[in-house]
């Protein structure tokens, strides 16, 4: 395999800085677009974290430091930035970078639309953040933007100004970027697979990309419809859609919004689950337990995700409680399947614990707490008691925010050698892990307790009920500890980019195709591909010969009837493409 390590940085000989910048601005290479997503989403993530520190400083003790209006604005922007500008695009970053490599493709199906997605996303993100300069400040109705708070009904003391419109338009643009991206991912997976890469041989991260793509494709347009109606409501229709005084229905917004935003939590968590699955498949030195059940559980989560949106609206009195309660309970089943499969993968594996693996195990622990508190909420009576308390805040941060972030951090440590050709520093990585792991548990477990004690969310001050001040102080300390951990991470990134140990093509002894090319890969991704006859083509390449006559190889290798041993006839479409 020819060494093309320099190809990633520049294709121009003797390129100067401007040439390099121009090259990145005009690139249609999925790897460069993925890295741009990574940097941009990471930067937005730090902004969102700064907002959370402001909130935690305010809440550390009773008494106010910032005004209630500022606090509303800050928590709205924290949620919006973290969800729309950090968690969703950072998933897209890894899907862009790794998925085409994992299926042995040269690029995405529509490289230019891929670049368009990124630039629309960036424009939408800038529009939302620029609303700090707007008259009347940013949107301040929470990231859920429930009307009629978003409207000028004549009753609200400070009607939202241009910042609310910028938020609505910005999120429409981000949705458009997501839809283009999802079309691209889906077509790439269906049409661009290398010969021999059948659907049942896709790496699990690619499977999560596929299901995530379908979720984005079918749910995001509904959010776009809601946002468009909200925008028209504010600018012309006079509240006819969502203001009850003008004949509108506030619950209509909630239904449309959650029809997107519940699948959206799976859009955030599924790519993280995919990364974790791949990481387990490498660092336990075993195939992931129950490959097919993992895929089926994934599809089940995706399907069920579409019929549970109203569990966010139990207390409104406008939804049919038994159905949505039952459907929500059902989601625990495929999620449990995945949980047990991950544990079974580690069971009696030759586990090693580099930072990527640590974050994956951390993911399991955080997601377990988050998932079980989710089952609490699914029960209507419990939800009635806990609705809009800090228990909810703790629950959703444990699942879609922190667990997902742990998955993505695992992805950073896992694919950093592939992206930049250098290892991240392990010592700093372990310090990062422990600081963040202790920090987030300090934050969110105390928030669960605060919620059980009845502390409502979205308040900027509270009466000092016994214990609230202590637990709020602990939460704030946890926030600063994990922020310190993220600073270590930031330092580690720049340190490793400059002084990191050089990594070869396959530093982890990986099993999937991205490790079959150089680090970083050349612009055309692969000079040659190994034969693909199971979902672990690199394992076969490394050990296939030696294990030829080992009867266990059949069992361990394929998880499908033929044990992955006998190469199947490539499908008709694969032959045509080949």
């Amino acid at each position: 395999m020819a060494t093309l390590a320099g190809a990633q940085t520049s294709t121009y000989a003797g390129a100067n800085a401007w040439r390099v910048i121009l090259e990145w601005l005009t690139t249609v290479d999925h790897k460069k677009i993925g890295i741009m997503y990574l940097w941009t989403a990471g930067a937005f993530g730090l902004v969102g974290m700064a907002f959370s520190l402001v909130m935690r400083t305010e809440l550390a003790q009773t008494g106010t430091i910032i005004s209630a209006e500022t606090y509303n604005s800050i928590f709205t922007m924290h949620g919006s930035v973290m969800i729309f500008l950090f968690l969703l695009p950072i998933g897209a970053a890894f899907m862009n970078y790794s998925m085409p490599l994992q299926i042995g493709a040269l690029d995405m199906a529509f490289p230019r639309i891929n670049a368009l997605s990124f630039w629309i996303f960036l424009f939408g993100g800038v529009l939302i953040t620029l609303s700090f300069a707007a008259e009347g400040g940013t949107a301040s109705a929470g990231w859920t933007a429930y009307p009629p708070v978003t409207l000028d009904t004549g009753n609200n003391a400070e009607p939202p100004g241009a910042g609310m419109d910028m938020w609505l338009v910005g999120v429409i643009l981000l949705g458009q970027a997501s839809i283009f991206g999802s079309v691209n991912f889906l077509v790439t997976i269906f049409k661009m697979r290398a010969p021999g890469m059948t659907m049942w041989r896709l790496p699990l991260f690619t499977w999560t990309t596929l299901v995530t793509g379908l979720l984005i494709l079918l749910s995001t347009p509904v959010l776009a419809a809601a946002l468009v109606l909200g925008f028209i409501d504010r600018n012309g229709a006079g509240g006819a859609f969502f203001d009850p005084a003008a004949g509108g229905q506030p619950l209509l917004w909630q239904n449309l919004f959650w029809f997107y935003s519940h699948p959206a939590v799976y859009i955030m968590i599924l790519p993280a689950m995919g990364i974790v699955s791949d990481v387990f498949g490498v660092f336990t030195r075993r195939p992931v337990f129950g490959y097919r059940s993992m895929v089926l559980a994934l599809i089940a989560i995706g399907l069920l995700g579409f019929i549970v949106w109203a569990h966010h609206m139990f207390t409104t009195g406008g939804v049919f409680l038994p159905f949505f309660m039952g459907a929500t309970f059902l989601i625990a089943v495929p999620t449990g399947v995945k949980m047990f499969n991950w544990i079974a993968t580690m069971w009696r594996g030759s586990n090693i614990f580099p930072t990527a693996m640590l974050f994956s195990v951390g993911f399991l622990m955080l997601f377990l707490i988050g998932g079980i508190t989710g089952v609490f909420h699914a029960a209507v009576p419990v939800d009635f008691a806990l609705h809009d308390t800090y228990f909810v805040v703790g629950h959703f941060h444990y699942t879609m925010s922190i667990a997902a972030t742990f998955g993505f951090l695992a992805g950073c440590y896992y694919w950093f050698p592939k992206m930049f050709g250098k290892f991240m520093n392990e010592g700093l990585g372990k310090l990062h892990f422990w600081l963040v792991f202790i920090g987030v548990n300090l934050i969110f477990f105390t928030q669960l307790l605060l919620g059980l004690d009845g502390m409502p969310r979205r308040i900027n001050d509270y009466v000092d009920n016994p214990g609230w001040e202590l637990m709020n102080m602990l939460t704030t300390i946890g926030a600063f500890v994990s922020a310190a951990g993220m600073m270590v991470f930031l330092y580690n990134v720049f340190y490793s980019l400059k002084w990191g140990e050089r990594a070869g093509s396959d530093p982890w002894e990986g099993t999937t195709l991205e490790w079959a090319t150089t680090s970083p890969p050349p612009a055309h991704n692969f000079d040659s591909l190994p034969e693909i006859r199971s979902e672990r083509p690199l394992f076969d390449l490394r050990f296939g010969e030696r294990l030829q006559d080992d009867p266990h190889y059949h069992v361990n290798n394929g998880h499908n009837g033929n044990g992955g041993r006998r190469a199947r006839q490539p499908s008709a479409s694969a032959r045509e493409e080949g």
Partner: protein, 206 residues
């Protein structure tokens, strides 16, 4: 088309109708997924219409105007016209699959003319409506739905017009015609959504 040169080629009944005997290209996969997302967008808007209509007391325009002016002849006529342009559009696709660029251009020209007439009629419908967008849920829904649909018709017409110009320049033949197939599918979608929008809005939701 050299389909017979490949032995044992299976012909899928649905796919061969949609896109001929060639395997689906990436472009066609892309437009089909994109149309699914568009369907969900209109599903959101139509769901909003049905939900708002459930409160019939507040449904009528607040300024006392009738919901639609005059009789329903023009809306019916243009609905039939728009939906029936799916036929020449599909014929255009059939024609280019056989390499007949001239028939394709003629059929697409019919679509362009009728589609433009539809948009012009839409303009008159809007200018003769006795209510503005702020006159209650019906009025707001009326302008939002017909407006977004009109925008999609215009988008489809631009799409078809661009391919028509390419056809004039000599693009497309029996093997390379993905853009025409994509435009055809998109145009079917635009007509189908109009049926879903206009019938509930004008005729059923009283």
């Amino acid at each position: 088309m050299a389909a017979s040169a490949i032995p044992h080629k299976r012909v899928h009944p649905v796919r061969s109708f949609l896109v001929g005997d060639e395997p689906m290209t990436t472009g066609l996969w892309g437009i089909i997924f994109f149309i699914f997302s568009e369907i969900m967008f209109f599903a959101g808007l139509i769901a909003a219409m049905l939900a708002l209509h459930s409160d019939t007391l507040l449904w009528e325009p607040t300024n006392g105007a009738h919901r639609v002016e005059g009789d329903h002849v023009l809306p019916i006529l243009f609905t039939v016209l728009l939906v029936s342009t799916s036929i020449p559009m599909q014929f255009a696709a059939f024609a280019i699959r056989k390499g007949n660029r001239k028939a394709m251009l003629i059929n697409m020209a019919i679509v362009l003319v009728v589609g433009t007439a539809f948009i012009i009629n839409q303009y008159f419908e809007w200018s003769h409506a006795g209510f503005g967008i702020s006159d209650g849920p019906y009025a707001a829904t009326f302008y939002t739905l017909t407006g977004f649909h009109g925008a999609h018709v215009i988008g489809g017409l631009v799409f078809i017009f661009a391919q028509w110009l390419r056809g004039l320049l000599g693009h497309f033949d029996a093997k390379r015609n993905t853009a025409i197939e994509a435009a055809t599918l998109y145009w079917h979608f635009v007509g189908f959504v109009w049926l879903l929008v206009i019938f509930p809005l004008v005729f059923f939701l009283s």
